[in-house]
Amino acid sequence: MSAPVRSDSPGKLAALIAALTAKGIVTEDELEASEAQTDRASPEIGARMVARAWLDAAWRRLLLSDGTAAAEAIGVSMAGAPPLGVLEDTARRHHLIVCTLCSCYPRAVLGYPPHWYKSFAYRARAVRDPRGLLAEWGTSLADGVEVRVVDSTADYRWMVLPVRPAGTEGWDEDRLTALVTRDVLVGVSLPQAIPAGAESG
């Protein structure tokens, strides 16, 4: 698990903010704007980018070549955000994203990382035993699919473009978007087509 919150954490945070604002490194307004931007982001942004890539070949090319430009093209502010890279799953390759050094995560398009993404267990096991980890997640890969673990160690943030599941022919963008969860965008799960009529069940 990640480090426990200590009772003196809020006090230390307040002292750090006071020191940074006193030195003019950040302002309270900038901190609030940054927090508001992450609060607004959610995995639905990433999901919509994926659904659009499944429907539009030109958009798909933009997404894979420059994730930041693709996000901005649908109105997501990437100002101040690290560059976004998008990794394409294929019938032969599955991507799994982790940050072993801390918890780097594409917050601009996925929002806050889930607690497990920051846990020592996930960070250690994703690189060491990715197939064991995926199995515990209930994710089984087809025979012949190789796993490529992406350790987000530096200045990029990464998101997965999964393979469009069978059984989704003719679906529109909204319906496809609903298939793409946060876990799918990190690569611990695969999108599953929900049979028509079972969606509200």
Binding site: P83, V147, R148
Partner: protein
């Protein structure tokens, strides 16, 4: 650490991650995971140039350094993996040195 030149590593270059452990010499901030020190991989592409986090973390002037996406075979880095599986990791140029096929075969575990 030597300053990186502009020559850089072309995609497909075999590189070795330096087997350096600056953590042993005092406080530092390194973005190269322990498990890759001394390991060899293949440069996939140049991601760009970014201020060196090892300087940024200490508020020092941080010259930009080339950052590469480098591909490693999962075993032998981790024995739990399956042959054919891979690790794709961002590594700064000053942590990389050229490596031939010979040194790739000889990469031992970092201590």
């Amino acid at each position: 650490m030597t300053a990186p030149g502009d020559a850089g590593f072309a995609p497909g270059s075999i590189v070795r991650v330096r087997n350096d452990w600056p953590e042993r010499s005092g406080p530092c901030h390194v973005r190269t995971p322990h498990y890759l020190r001394g390991r060899s991989g293949t440069v996939q592409r140049l991601l760009g140039r970014f201020p060196n986090p090892e300087d940024l973390a200490f508020g020092r002037p941080a010259p930009s350094r080339a950052l590469y996406h480098v591909l490693f075979e999962q075993p032998p880095v981790w024995q739990e993996g399956r042959p054919g599986d891979e690790l794709l990791v961002e590594v700064f140029e000053h942590w990389l040195e050229p490596a031939g096929a010979e040194s790739r075969a000889a990469t031992g575990a970092a201590s």
